[in-house]
């Protein structure tokens, strides 16, 4: 029986504000998984803390809700333990690019086969409207009443500069494109970043749906855009001030797991835990 959308739904109503961008991301994710014909039990979502981090609460699959900012190492452990699973990390811009920044940068270079979906609303939603690392300069929030004075984090540039093999950006207002991006990210072997612009209708009245609809471009529409040229991708992102959607860059190659010595195709969780007595003797012999 083919997997249907209903299979990924839960009885839990989504707790987001009406109009929140995260609805679009959730439905794109569900649809992408159906398109890929993944079974709910074959998928594990690792969600952060934030409005965005609740995404796992609303989708029927294996879910783990981490501490704030730790989705990527949790997803790494999960994938290494069971490489047969489709592992998706999902969280907010604060979760991923503030407290989670260190893990983000290291995940980019480690290249474990997970898909990272960041629901970027340029603000802290769940804690009621403070500045976020992706907030624009001058942005007024509860914690920056005179306007933000820090340079915003540019996740796409960072991913490109760090050798990430799949860098994409979507927009929760454009669900069909986002579905395709998620599918491509999941299918990519290695770490895939999908920065999903997901407006917060309550605390961010600057970066609204309209704001993005007016400004976002699709890379397909850039003449001669070549998503395999990293330097060009970087240049395009800088030129367009990050306001591009689509697969910005993609490079095939072995994932972290592929390069680990002795790592098996059979997931660790399916291997026999018992040590053969002769193996134990060999280990002991090293100390004699």
């Amino acid at each position: 029986m083919p997997v249907k959308l209903a299979d990924f739904r839960t009885t839990e109503k989504s707790w987001w504000c009406p109009g929140c961008g995260d609805f679009g991301v959730l439905s794109a994710l569900q649809k992408a998984l159906v398109d890929l014909q993944k079974e709910p039990h074959e998928v594990a979502i690792v969600a952060g803390i934030g409005c965005s981090g609740k995404i796992g609460n609303y989708i029927n699959c294996y879910n783990i809700h981490t501490t704030h900012g730790r989705t990527l190492p949790v997803a790494t452990g999960l994938k290494l333990a069971n490489r047969r699973l489709t592992v998706i990390a999902a969280g907010g811009d604060g979760d991923g690019y503030a407290i989670g920044m260190g893990h983000f940068m290291h995940a980019l270079r480690r290249n474990v086969d997970i898909t990272y979906l960041v629901m970027d609303n340029h603000v802290y939603g769940l804690t009621k409207g403070q500045v976020s690392p992706t907030s624009d300069a001058g942005f007024v929030t509860k914690s920056t009443p005179s306007g933000n004075v820090e340079h915003p984090v540019r996740p796409l540039e960072l991913a490109l500069a760090s050798g990430c093999g799949f860098v994409a950006q979507g927009f929760s207002g454009w669900v069909p494109q986002l579905i395709e991006l998620i599918k491509a990210g999941v299918q990519h072997r290695g770490f895939a970043l999908i920065n999903a612009i997901s407006p917060c209708v309550t605390y961010n009245l600057v970066n609204t749906y309209d704001f993005y609809r007016e400004r976002l471009k699709k890379v397909e529409d850039l003449p001669g855009y070549d998503p395999t040229d990293r330097a060009k991708a970087l240049q395009a992102v800088i030129e367009h001030d990050g306001l591009l959607t689509g697969v910005l860059y993609r490079r095939e190659g072995p994932s972290y797991e592929d390069q680990l010595p002795g790592f098996r195709a059979e997931p660790i969780v399916e291997q026999d835990l018992h040590l053969a007595p002769e193996e134990f003797e060999k280990l002991l012999a090293e100390f004699r």
Binding site: E42, A44, L72, I268, R288
Partner: protein
């Protein structure tokens, strides 16, 4: 005829002088001696005094003592710092190149021997350690042939010539000593001929983890814990496992949370600073009921403290360092063999009780190289994965309704593993209903909190080991590496005709109250021995059981291990 002796080598850090200690220890371990090797070093790569004490005995020894029979010195500083420990009649083997002098009042024989020069003459100055071993052999009255096998094994890969050079260097050291010491040498009682493996507690921890089915290790380097990672990174790939050096300790421990959720046995190994960073995630594992194993090889704190010195001061951090009421289990190996068995069992506890298990090791235990006194028996390592939901059970559940956090009498709820059809649920550190759904319902909250804590009531037995007199005048209580010193103190007290007992705690949380309370009730005086400044174990016992008036502390927190004699004196004060 010595039934026991100690040998010490001293020199500058980074000059590889430890290798002579390793050779001596390894050879004697093979010949049926019991060996304990203890290295003093500092947080520096090259330079600065370091020394390595090898205690050798015809009965098991688990701790360093104070006397040195033979001191090998590669510089004058090593003599100046260590000569007072040399017993009357002892031998100081010192390299002529620094013109060694014995301080006044030391009743030892100085063997002024051109170690470096002899080594150079035989091929390379690197072999001065081997020359010193040769001289040591003579001074102990041991044949130098004892060392030949090991030299063959150790240098065999480098070719025949290197082996021959080392053999010649060994022989030259031996001959020089013979010529100059003449009759001045010890003679050592024979060993029992049983070849025992020799390893560090950290090695045993790593080995225990492999035996227990640990296949994922995620860690960040830190003294004195890094060796566990370095041991495993070479061996786990053979068993399909992986060692991941993370970007920090938060990543390490959260990697375990992912792996544990997936159903793998996973561990990290750290020391104080890293442990403190893990506090938040330990709470997550506790609340989301994910099995993880965290080894804390304690060192002297607070903060960076003294990274190369022993301490046992993370007890409260291990038991209650994360915010909120977060149940966990803390076990504590006291011996090398414990490092193996207790670590292995930690994985069972983690999966049976679905919570974080912390293994409280310490630097003395982790780094001392010792002979294995009770054979490490793989058959004694069982694998108990705790309650796992079967495919059939899951198939019977209405879709999406698996009650991962079902409120049960034991507090333990069967878990599904990702990949199992129909076992989907939400694992979360947010308070949740039995299905994992987030809720703030007050009754549910109480039910879930109680359920999580109820699990600990099932953690019973095996937390306390009793030694000594059943009706003691004084009861020692301790955990961790002080075991060896207390064991010897008991013998000293018994030799005085007095009665001493020893409750060694191998589990700190939940404290084995039922086993400990009657012992405390019975004993007129109790001495809680711990390597920290504030009596953390004593305070823990007071918190859980009382007995304030009876409890006395033996505290040591200068970075050095307790000596048996010191405890013997302290016990005398308490009894007086």
């Amino acid at each position: 005829m010595l039934s026991e002796f100690a040998w010490k080598v001293g020199g500058q850090q980074g000059e590889g002088i430890e290798s002579s200690g390793d050779i001596l220890a390894a050879v004697l371990a093979r010949r049926g001696y019991h060996v304990h090797g203890y290295r003093v070093f500092s947080s520096r790569i090259k330079g600065g005094h370091t020394n390595y004490r090898v205690r050798v005995s015809t009965r098991p020894v688990r701790t360093p003592n104070e006397d040195v029979h033979i001191l090998v010195a590669f510089d004058q500083e090593s003599i100046d710092l260590n000569a007072t420990e040399v017993v009357p009649g002892g031998v100081v083997i010192a390299d002529s190149h620094f013109k060694p002098k014995l301080p006044e009042g030391i009743q030892a024989t100085l063997l002024d021997i051109p170690l470096t020069q002899i080594a150079q003459e035989n091929g390379s100055q690197l072999m001065r350690n081997v020359v010193a071993i040769g001289a040591t052999a003579y001074a102990l009255g041991l044949p130098h042939e004892l060392f030949h096998d090991l030299i063959h094994e150790r240098w065999g890969r480098k070719g025949r010539e290197v082996v021959e050079q080392n053999l010649a260097a060994l022989r030259a050291g031996y001959d020089f000593a013979k010529e100059h010491l003449g009759e001045v040498h010890f003679s050592v009682a024979p060993g029992d001929g049983v070849a025992r493996p020799i390893m560090s507690g950290n090695d045993a921890t790593g080995l225990g983890a492999i035996a227990a089915g640990c296949r994922i290790m995620a860690a960040y380097p830190i003294t004195p814990a890094s060796d566990v990672m370095e041991y495993l990174v070479k061996r786990l790939p053979r068993f399909g496992g992986v060692v991941l050096q993370c970007e920090d300790e938060i990543a390490s421990v959260t990697t375990l949370v992912g792996a544990g959720f997936a159903g793998a046995r996973a561990m990290t190994c750290t020391a104080g600073p890293g442990f403190s960073l893990m506090q938040e995630a330990i709470g997550l594992a506790s609340a989301a009921e994910v099995p993880i194993v965290v080894v804390d090889v304690q060192r002297a704190g607070p903060s960076t403290g003294m990274p190369t010195k022993v301490e046992q001061s993370d007890l409260f951090a291990m038991i209650g360092g994360t915010h909120g009421d977060a149940p966990r289990i803390v076990v504590a190996p006291a011996t090398l063999e414990d490092c193996f068995y207790v670590t292995a069992e930690a994985f069972n506890l983690a999966e049976r009780f679905q919570c974080p298990v912390i293994v409280a090791s310490d630097l003395m235990l982790g780094l001392s190289r010792q002979t294995v006194e009770e054979p490490l028996d793989l058959a004694k390592v069982t694998i108990d994965r705790g309650e796992l939901a079967s495919e059939e059970e899951l198939a019977a559940v209405p879709a999406g309704q698996f009650a991962r956090y079902k409120v049960t009498a034991s507090g333990v709820s069967p878990r599904s593993l990702p990949g199992q059809p129909n076992g989907q649920y939400l694992a979360t550190g947010v308070e949740h209903a039995p299905t994992g759904k987030v809720t703030e319902n007050p009754e549910n909250r109480v039910a879930q909190m109680d359920k999580r804590w109820r699990k600990l009531e099932g953690v019973r037995g095996g937390g306390l080991r009793y030694l000594g007199d059943p009706e003691p005048d004084i009861l020692f209580v301790s955990f961790g590496s002080t075991f060896g010193a207390i064991e010897e103190t008991l013998a000293m007290i018994a030799a005085d005709g007095q009665k001493a007992g020893f409750a060694c705690l191998t589990r700190l949380w939940p404290l084995p109250k039922e086993e400990l309370a009657p012992l405390l009730t019975r004993a007129p005086r109790v001495l809680v021995v711990e390597q920290n400044a504030t009596g953390q174990l004593r305070r823990l016992i007071q918190q859980e059981l009382g007995f304030h008036d009876k409890l006395h502390s033996a505290l040591r927190y200068d970075g050095l291990p307790f000596l048996p004699r010191q405890l013997y004196v302290r016990a005398g004060e308490v009894v007086a």
